[in-house]
């Protein structure tokens, strides 16, 4: 029987060596060059017109005045397995470095092994809070390579589903943000309302999350009978309840104290860092791909792009809350304008035949067999296609070599890029503000690490 061993000093060193991420970690000041220090505190953003003061880099501070601590990888407020290394002076944050990769499962490599039909099941698991929009981005990229058109009904179904998905994603954000700030009733309400949408997804696609609903060529199934009534109930209920959230949070003094004016971001910094989505719009830049570079049928619906002024936590909150209302506006227009017709392309090389045809048509059987064993071939080329996900610009870069599998699949995850703003936003703030900063950046670790 093994003796229970007490971990002595040497043993602890071994343990830290085993779990070390080496140079990826935040280093002590005596082993950090001044360039590196400047980068970590965000002083490299000293480009033309940027506001960060280069004198703010406190090079002469010594290591024994500060403390480096780990937050995460399994801290409840980091929304997954995000590890933040914080250098603290008392309660104030000097440097921050996110260490990521704890959820890396090689999904881009997996994407190269899956055929184009199977690929949607892979990308849908990246940003697991907005699966429809992931599938949409991937499918549109494949369709662009194939140069096929999607029927009008499929376009509008995609728009309906992605807006519902945006609402559900923002509701989860409202919920987790509420919980991070101690408003646990918001947690319950947000998840309660999201359940309405997930129930509709289940009715439509058969699954609540990771739907594999949007596929190259169209969508997997038509909307269920009576979908208008379901969606109208969702719109009415959630729209009315956004005003309850207003009462619960927007004017509440404790909530405002932790959000208003905390962690501001300027437009120049946001552009330099490549930050997109609600973070960019909160700085006053009216950039929403649905409006600026319309895809699907977003140029035929009426909605407002919500823009903030100060780029602080509260603006990001207000933008997301109002985007829920705007998305519901789009959903209502989808109900009114939904065209009749096919819900997927009738090109037999891309779309599998209906189940009933397989028994009676040899050709349908061959097509079905070829599609699900080999998959369809995509002509050589490369394409970058971007859509507006709830977190920002979601891009999909596909290189096709003429075979049935993507030669290279790269996904530009908005959370991955937005996460770089962490060290800038947290600098100088107090430890308790780090929670609100992570929360309002809204990273989904599945998308950060892929």
């Amino acid at each position: 029987m093994n003796e229970p061993t007490v971990r002595t000093a040497e043993r602890i060193e071994l343990l830290t060596a085993e779990t070390s991420e080496g140079l990826q970690e935040l280093q002590r000041r005596d082993s950090t060059t001044s360039d590196e220090l400047g980068r970590e505190v965000g002083a490299v953003l000293r480009l033309k017109g940027l506001t960060l003061d280069p004198n703010a880099v406190d090079f002469d501070r010594r290591d024994d005045e500060t403390m480096i601590i780990n937050m995460g990888p399994s801290h409840p407020s980091t929304h997954g397995v995000l590890r933040l290394m914080l250098e603290l002076d008392g309660e104030f944050v000097l440097r921050t470095k996110p260490v990521i990769g704890y959820l890396h499962t090689g999904m881009e490599k997996t994407g190269e092994e899956l055929s184009y039909i199977q690929g949607a099941t892979n990308v849908t698991r990246m940003d697991y809070l907005s699966p429809v929009i992931n599938e949409l981005c991937y499918s549109m990229a494949v369709e662009k390579l194939l140069d096929i058109d999607v029927p009008a009904r499929a376009v509008w179904i995609r728009m309906l589903m992605s807006e519902l998905n945006r609402v559900s994603s923002h509701l989860v954000w409202m919920a987790t943000n509420g919980m991070d700030l101690g408003a646990s009733s918001m947690m319950i309400y947000g998840l309660r309302e999201r359940e309405l949408i997930l129930a509709f997804f289940e009715k439509t696609a058969g699954l609540r999350m990771n739907l594999n609903y949007v596929r190259p060529g169209g969508v997997a199934a038509d909307l269920p009978d009576g979908w208008q009534d379901d969606v109208l109930v969702i719109c009415d209920t959630i729209y009315a309840r956004t005003f309850e959230y207003d009462q619960l949070l927007t004017g509440q003094p404790i909530f405002r104290n932790r959000m208003v004016g905390v962690a501001p971001l300027t437009a120049e910094e946001a552009l330099a860092l490549g930050v997109t989505g609600p973070l960019l719009r909160s700085t006053g830049v009216p950039w929403d791909l649905r409006r600026s570079m319309p895809y699907l049928a977003y140029d035929q619906v009426d909605f407002d792009v919500i823009v903030g002024t100060f780029g602080d936590n509260f603006d990001r909150y207000a933008i997301r809350l109002n985007e829920i209302r705007e998305s519901l506006r789009i959903v209502r227009q989808c109900i009114d304008k939904m065209p009749a017709g096919d819900y997927r392309s009738q090109d037999p090389k891309v779309t599998p035949p209906p189940r009933a045809r397989i028994g009676e048509s040899m050709e349908a059987l061959i097509h079905h067999f070829k599609l699900f064993t080999e998959g369809f071939h995509v002509p050589p080329g490369e394409v970058y296609l971007a859509v507006e996900s709830p977190r920002g610009e979601l891009g999909c870069y596909i290189v096709a070599d003429g075979g049935p599998k993507p030669y290279r699949l790269h996904v530009r995850g908005p959370s991955f890029v937005n996460l770089q703003a962490v060290s800038l936003l947290m600098r100088g703030g107090s430890m308790s503000d780090t929670i609100t900063v992570i929360s309002t950046i809204d990273p989904v670790m599945g998308e950060v690490d892929r």
Partner: protein
């Protein structure tokens, strides 16, 4: 779209890509200066940097005057004012792929370039922190390279236990 096309510096090969984006094919030496001039030209944001390993697809179609190499770095720039994208594809080299880092132009490329280094082993000159980002620090090899095998867990199919 073409009327809005930025004036690429002389000597840079351009073509129009599939999604009606403009594609530029600079050499490694032209890469940094091209991006810098595009930035001055109104491309405020660098949305994406990624690399591709063309080991098994060397006969891809490229415009005349571009010599294909094994690795290619693809940079996507976005102009908010012109509502336009441009894609810059630079041939990064065969054995030791290396291009200039865009960090001083767009600080937001820091994580993206680290990812390209981590997964494909493309080096970025003057990058401030060229470490791995997604894989563990002691990992060997670069997983998205085409000569890096896909990990497979062998599945053992054992006989079902007998009736006894």
């Amino acid at each position: 779209m073409t009327s809005l096309a930025p004036v690429a510096p002389p000597g840079v090969v351009t073509s129009t890509g599939l999604a009606a984006d403009l594609c530029c094919y600079p050499t490694r030496e032209q890469y940094f200066s091209l991006i810098a001039s595009l930035k001055c030209d109104g491309f405020e944001m660098c949305v994406d940097v990624c690399a591709v390993d063309y080991l098994n697809f060397a006969d891809r179609s490229l415009p005349d005057g571009v010599a294909p190499t094994r690795f290619e770095v693809v940079t996507n720039l976005l102009s908010l004012s012109k509502k336009q994208r441009v894609r810059v594809r630079v041939q990064a080299g065969n054995d030791r792929p290396e291009v200039d880092s865009l960090f001083t132009l767009y600080p937001g490329t820091e994580a993206l370039e680290r990812e390209a280094f981590d997964l494909l082993g493309v080096l970025f000159t003057n990058h401030p922190d060229m470490t791995r980002i997604l894989m563990p620090e002691e990992w060997e090899g670069h997983p998205l390279r085409k000569d890096y095998g896909v990990g497979k867990v062998p599945v053992q199919f054992k006989e079902a236990p007998g009736p006894r």
